[in-house]
Symmetry: C2
Subunit: 99 residues, 2 copies
């Protein structure tokens, strides 16, 4: 698989980012990435079908939240935390803190 295209952080819209976070499956992915640093799609599927997860990871990537790199057959995902903190100061902290 070729590397993914990720949006420039400045092109990321708040609207799309909030929409991406407003789904429980995706919010769960984001929280786990925030905790665990980097993880494969596989490791975060919670028993859901691969195609469903692939969809959610795509939404997260396109929203600018997640960076995916290829490592063999595995896709390793991570939060674009530093960039996000610059682009939307305080947002991710507030979101991840909220219970």
């Amino acid at each position: 698989m070729r590397p993914f295209k990720h949006p420039e952080i400045d092109a990321v819209s708040l609207e799309h980012l909030l929409h991406a976070l407003s789904d429980p499956v995706r919010m769960d992915i984001v929280r786990r990435l925030a905790d665990e640093g980097e993880a494969s799609c596989n490791a975060l599927d919670g028993g859901r079908p691969k195609s469903s997860m692939s969809h959610h990871f795509r939404v997260l990537r396109e929203a600018g939240l997640v960076w995916t790199r290829n490592d063999g057959t595995v896709h390793m995902n991570s939060l674009r935390r530093k960039e996000l903190d610059k682009r939307f100061p305080g947002l991710m902290k507030a979101v991840l803190t909220a219970k």
Copy 2:
């Protein structure tokens, strides 16, 4: 019209709140309420039909973002800012700051 029921702030879910904010019309309403303090539905419609606006205000109310009080035939809306700041510290500030 009878007074609306607003959710208890502790019953407000981050998920629903983020979804409510992920629509451009509603985000615009929230920004203007943050600026102007209190406003009627009418004052914020931007030329859109009343029924569309009524829908968006309902979503905002049910998400816990907006408080609506009756004042004669007018419905005055305001951000539940203080409560939101307690419930989700830093969130509204980050959202409203983002450009």
